[in-house]
């Protein structure tokens, strides 16, 4: 133990890699190889490096599959973790497939794993919502709620997490009123339950999201500040939840046009996250990207570009080329270039975003349509109207048009 505490992260990584290499020599189905793979994957996941963790998770899973069989319940947890990695790296189809596998394993013993089934279902509902498969998402959500109520009733404190997850799913499915209802229920449960003020802080942060999405920034800020106070009480002023709350406060300020306050909040968020997680962590990159958004809105183009590039590098390294966080940073950078009139760079980035959105979400997804519209708007600004009309069309029609 004393060795690990004194080691730097780089030394730990080297040691874990060496252990994997050493274990590889012991044979494919060796337990030491499995442990080494899982340890290195866990190391990467703790540091947000999901892109590097994912192949290790797959290898570890295949070892377990070989050892225990394809539908053994031991596989359910690593499948859930792998699904999480896929979600973060933007590989939503794989995430959905892997989570469905975990659900199937849990369903083999539905009574014993009922809570896990409800969790899988709500996760699948969220993925379906992001992929714009709304009916499928609603079905998963309804089933999750039904199972959780059978297990816990209506007032069990374990329902707080479920209510929050259901609220997020309902909001992603386009039903913010239902989300408010879930958050209010969660708030009432947290008020009475043993989880205390920290859980209420999570509820308030989510209520702040809803208010912000509706454009009620003052109300959102009130919720975010309540969440911040709650998290500061439970985690201290340097806690990760506190850093996240500062990020939310900054975004609310930036959206209402108070850029100085926004930048101060972003600065706090960056500071807390870099201190807690290190400057290379993608959560710090998230704060940098948000700070870049604020700078861009305040027309501080040089600072914004530098921050976007930093976030872009970190997201690309940690999450891969399809990660939603990277796409957001690239989109912000493209906006920046477009605003500055650097059309060639903006065109290149927007074209890249169109291809990525079409690959990740499919050509008919609203996100892909929005990306194509952005590319067309940028072309129109350069008076390239025919190219803009072509850019607006989905890929199939574009191919047909070129054939004609």
């Amino acid at each position: 133990m004393s060795k690990s505490t004194s080691e730097t992260p780089a030394a730990v990584e080297t040691r874990l890699k060496d252990a994997v290499q050493a274990a590889e020599r012991l044979g494919r189905l060796n337990h030491r190889r499995l442990d080494a793979l899982e340890s290195l994957a866990s190391f990467y996941i703790q540091r947000g490096r999901y892109r590097e963790a994912e192949p290790l998770q797959v290898r570890a899973l295949s070892v377990k599959e070989k050892i225990y069989g394809p539908e053994h319940e031991t596989l359910a947890l690593p499948l859930t973790e792998l699904a999480r990695s896929y979600e973060i790296t933007g590989r939503l189809a794989e995430a959905e497939a892997v989570r469905t596998l975990a659900l199937k394993i849990h369903e083999r013993d539905a009574v014993q794993n009922s809570v896990a089934i409800a969790q899988d279902l709500v996760a699948l509902a969220q993925i379906a919502a992001v992929r714009n498969k709304l009916a499928e998402g609603e079905a998963h959500l309804a089933r999750s709620q039904k199972i959780a109520r059978i297990v816990f009733g209506d007032v069990h404190s374990a329902l707080i997490r479920f209510q929050l997850a259901w609220g997020e799913a309902a909001w992603a499915l386009g039903r913010p009123e239902a989300a408010v209802d879930h958050y209010e229920r969660a708030d009432r449960l947290a008020e009475k339950g043993p989880e205390g003020i920290g859980e209420r802080g999570n509820v308030w942060a989510r209520r702040g999201h809803l208010e912000r999405a509706a454009g009620r920034f003052r109300s959102a800020l009130d919720y975010y500040r309540q969440a911040l106070e709650a998290h500061e009480k439970t985690e201290g002023s340097g806690g990760l939840s506190v850093g996240r709350d500062w990020l939310f406060i900054g975004r609310a300020h930036a959206e209402e046009g108070r850029f100085r306050k926004a930048d101060a909040a972003f600065k706090r968020s960056v500071s807390i996250r870099e201190n807690a997680l290190g400057p290379e962590h993608p959560d710090a990159a998230e704060s940098w990207a948000a700070r870049a958004d604020g700078w861009a809105a305040a027309k501080h183009f040089v600072d914004a570009e530098r921050a976007y590039q930093k976030a872009r590098t970190l997201f690309a390294r940690c999450h891969g080329p399809d990660a939603p966080a990277l796409l957001r940073a690239l989109n912000g950078l493209a906006h920046l270039y477009y605003e500055r009139g650097v059309y060639d760079e903006a065109d290149r980035l927007l074209g890249e975003l169109v291809r990525t959105h079409e690959r990740v979400f499919g050509p008919d997804h609203p996100a892909a349509r929005a990306a194509r519209e952005n590319a067309a708007v940028c072309l129109e600004a350069q008076d390239r109207l025919e190219e803009a009309e072509t850019a607006r069309r989905p890929p199939a029609i574009q191919k047909k048009g070129t054939a004609l």
């Binding site: 975004r251 996100a367 600004a381 350069q382």
Partner: protein
């Protein structure tokens, strides 16, 4: 998966920027936009014209802001030909005996209160060219008087509106000439013209302007039988029109002007008698 408003996969939309060529009709909505813009522009211009016309009509109403329209000035009356120049007093050299004191005779009592000049007879101010100018009455010079043995003259500079006026009350019932003059040392070489107006009442006598330089050269001009004219006479003369009269050398030295005279004399055909001449706004431009 924890979702926030920023986690929506839909990218933030770009705000469309109209940066096209000035006239681009590649799409139907461009034509519509062009026609709409032309209509709005024409409407704006028409509104501007109408507003301007209305404003001009309002401001043209009397008593609003426009100054009263000036009357057409009385035409300059050329001096009638004089048969024989009367012996005018030599300004440089007084016509009095040396032993006689130069005490001006008391002014003749005015027969009646001088009739005020009718306002309606005010001429339009002479166009004032830009550049240097010399206002004789504003310079604070003291006007003195001179008359022949039997002539009588009272001169006074009185305010007349925003300007000053030289009032000459004379009596030529028995005398031949009177004059009021000012001593100065002035360089008038940079001026080209002299302007003033005068009018008067009483007998029709000759009114004269004379300017003397340092060596006694007299140049001047006269207006026969103009001293009693109630209508204002507008004088706007090039200095070159002042002719040499006598004294000094024939060349007027405008750099060394020493005296300026306003005189009333009784020449052949003049009526003599009493009268008043008022001179206003003497300026060299």
């Amino acid at each position: 998966m924890t979702l926030t408003p920023d986690d929506t996969p839909t990218p933030k939309p770009l705000l469309a920027r109209r940066k096209r060529t000035l006239l681009s009709f590649r799409r139907r909505r461009d034509v519509v936009s062009f026609v709409l813009n032309v209509a709005l522009f024409s409407g704006g211009i028409a509104a501007l014209v109408v507003t301007t016309l209305q404003w001009r009509r309002l401001t043209a109403l009397p008593g609003v802001s426009e100054p009263p329209r000036a009357e057409v000035p009385a035409p300059y009356e050329a001096p009638a030909p004089v048969e024989e120049p009367a012996p005018a007093p030599e300004t440089g050299k007084p016509f009095l005996p040396e032993d006689e004191e130069e005490t001006p005779a008391p002014p003749p009592p005015p027969t009646k209160k001088p009739t005020p000049l009718p306002d309606s007879k005010k001429p339009a101010p002479v166009a004032e060219p830009k550049g240097p100018r010399f206002e004789l009455f504003s310079a604070g010079f003291k006007f003195r008087t001179l008359a022949d043995r039997n002539g009588r003259l009272t001169a006074a500079v009185t305010p007349a509106g925003s300007d000053a006026a030289l009032r000459l009350d004379y009596d030529l019932a028995e005398g031949q000439w009177v004059q009021s003059f000012v001593d100065l040392k002035q360089d008038l070489s940079k001026f080209k013209r002299v302007q003033f107006v005068f009018n008067g009442n009483g007998g029709a006598n000759t009114f004269e302007l004379k300017i003397v330089d340092s060596d006694g050269t007299n140049v001047g001009i006269d207006w026969p039988r103009a001293s009693g004219r109630a209508a204002l006479t507008v004088v706007d003369l090039p200095l070159t029109d002042l002719t040499y009269l006598w004294g000094g050398d024939p060349k007027m030295d405008w750099k060394r002007v020493r005296q300026i005279y306003f005189a009333v004399s009784k020449k052949s055909g003049d009526q003599g008698g009493r009268g008043r001449v008022v001179v206003r706004g003497v300026r060299f431009l």
